[in-house]
């Protein structure tokens, strides 16, 4: 780099102060809410500095899930085996009393989805966390989304889908950084 401010200490050691390409403007651990937002979207809101909006391309977000829980049960099948009966699961089933949501990728809106216990099949669960842009292109805040994602088959509509439980991820670690933080607007 050919520009910057050179700073010397009394021993003659030098360092060059240069403009930052990106700045971390918010970071830490945050508790995830257990209910939807007023507009049926979900997540924790982190304000960006200033009052003017930032372009999507100038924002970067890293999120990792720190702590999560989940539960499920199954319907057993008993199969005769050489050493006695063996046990498989016909299918994993949903937990009564748990609210499952589908998510509209276009705007982040969450809708309650009620599984049909006898036909809808669950086949994987994992934590997921990401910056939910809510379909926007400029931002004055960043929405952090984190939940347990359940991959399943919706038999009544013959589709494979992702559904979410919103009170299973308790904490996330995150970093938000901005490029062109100092851009004149």
């Amino acid at each position: 780099m050919s520009f910057g401010l050179k700073v010397k200490d009394i021993a003659g050691k030098t360092a060059i102060i240069t403009p930052s390409i990106s700045n971390i403007i918010s970071a830490g651990t945050i508790t995830m809410p257990t209910t939807l937002q007023w507009n049926d979207t979900y997540g924790a809101e982190i304000d960006l500095p200033g009052n003017d909006p930032y372009r999507k391309g100038d924002i970067g977000v890293l999120i990792t899930v720190r702590y999560f829980t989940y539960s499920y049960t199954g319907i057993w099948a008993v199969v005769s085996g050489g050493g006695g009966n063996e046990y498989a699961l016909k299918r994993f089933v949903y937990i009564t009393g748990t609210t499952y949501y589908t998510r509209n990728d276009a705007n982040g809106a969450m809708s309650v989805w009620v599984p049909v216990q006898s036909t809808d099949t669950l086949y994987n669960i994992f934590p997921i966390a990401f910056w939910d842009t809510l379909g926007q292109s400029v931002f004055t805040s960043v929405r952090l989304f984190a939940s347990m994602c359940h991959l399943c088959y919706d038999a009544s509509h013959s589709v494979y889908k992702e559904v979410y439980t919103i009170d299973d991820v308790a904490y996330v670690d995150y970093v938000i950084y901005l490029k062109n933080l100092q851009e004149e607007r």
Binding site: F3, G4, L5, I17, T18, P19, S20, N23, I24, I25, S26, A27, G28, T29, P49, G50, N51, D52, L62, T64, V65, R66, Y67, T69, Y70, S71, Y72, T73, G74, W76, A77, V78, V79, S80, G81, G82, G83, G84, N85, E86, Y87, A88, L89, F92, L122, N124, I125, F126, P127, D173, Y174, V175, N180, L181, Q182, E184
Partner: protein
Amino acid sequence: MSNYGLKVFDTRGNSSLVIPKLAQIISNGTVTMPNALNGDGTYGVDIDLPGDENINNGDLGMIVQVRDFDWRAIINQFTYATNKYWNMFYGDDNYTYYEKDTTTGIMTAWTPGDLSGGDITEWNPLIKISPIAGWDKYGSSSKAMRIFAAIHYGFLYPYAGSTATTTLYARNTTHTINTVLGYKLLEVQGAIEATTSSKTTPLSWYIHQSTTTKFYVSIVHGDGSETLIGNGIASDTWSWTIGGDTTQQSQRTGATWSCPATTLDPTDAIKLRLHMTLVTYQGPVSGYIGTFITEQLNWSKLNAATWTIPRYVWIYQKFQAAYGYVTSKCYFGSASKEIKITGLSYKPLLHSTKSVATIGSNGVSEVDYVIYMKNYKGN
């Protein structure tokens, strides 16, 4: 937005401001995860922070990403038809999985079931698997940050619950369970009466002496096969001889049976067959008059216990030499006329989720990480 700093221009006139850092990367790189727990039973790699003083956790942050991992499970293949197979993953008892105390971080070894035939508690199906990595944070400040990384598993964990006691009531409607059609045998009492089929003597057999009712108890398995555990049990004999046409009916109570301890599979059901022997002065007639069956119980065991099985017996005698006869049947379905099993003791089959992890070469062996600090004062 920051409105202070040193403005730096390039030759085209674009400008940037030099501003104080809000956060600064103080450590980053790739770390090899250990194959064993730490001495205190926790797990992970500590990254020293600068200086000798504790730093508030609120000023610290860490992002960890899994680079290299392996996973441990075992597959069991079921054959359900010729050349047709059904595969399912289970915990592998050749490897050590760890349960993590989320409060202390201490890891406790857990060995999954060994897939022993006939014992469902030895079968732990796998539902989820995923790499996890992050800052293992305890307390409010740190001199070092702990990187935790592992492969996380969710296994279904079946186990026998505590002993429970219940009553099963014969109900007025039927269902087919494990290929067996029978009147329902449920834990909730009904209010609508029904009757079994009847036993009737040939004409001219018209002088009643006794009516004996007893039960045959079977475990009906998921494939329809049966195991008889009670052979002609809880027998009750009602003896009377009365001249003339007469109807006699009685709620017979007090007949008991010592049910033996019996291991159950989750798809098993209990079947009762009611047998009647009607004895007249001219001879006996006998046979089964009713079948009752539970739903699939999802129980792990019938405990040894004394069952009491009341039944309501109805008898009609047509007292006439040439055309006389005796016929008998049982009523059930309501509180006033009932067939039921009381004193039934069992252990339910319960399930929980076993959340465990494998570590090091059996889990996550390498991670990339970044540690950043706010309010970094430097040296």
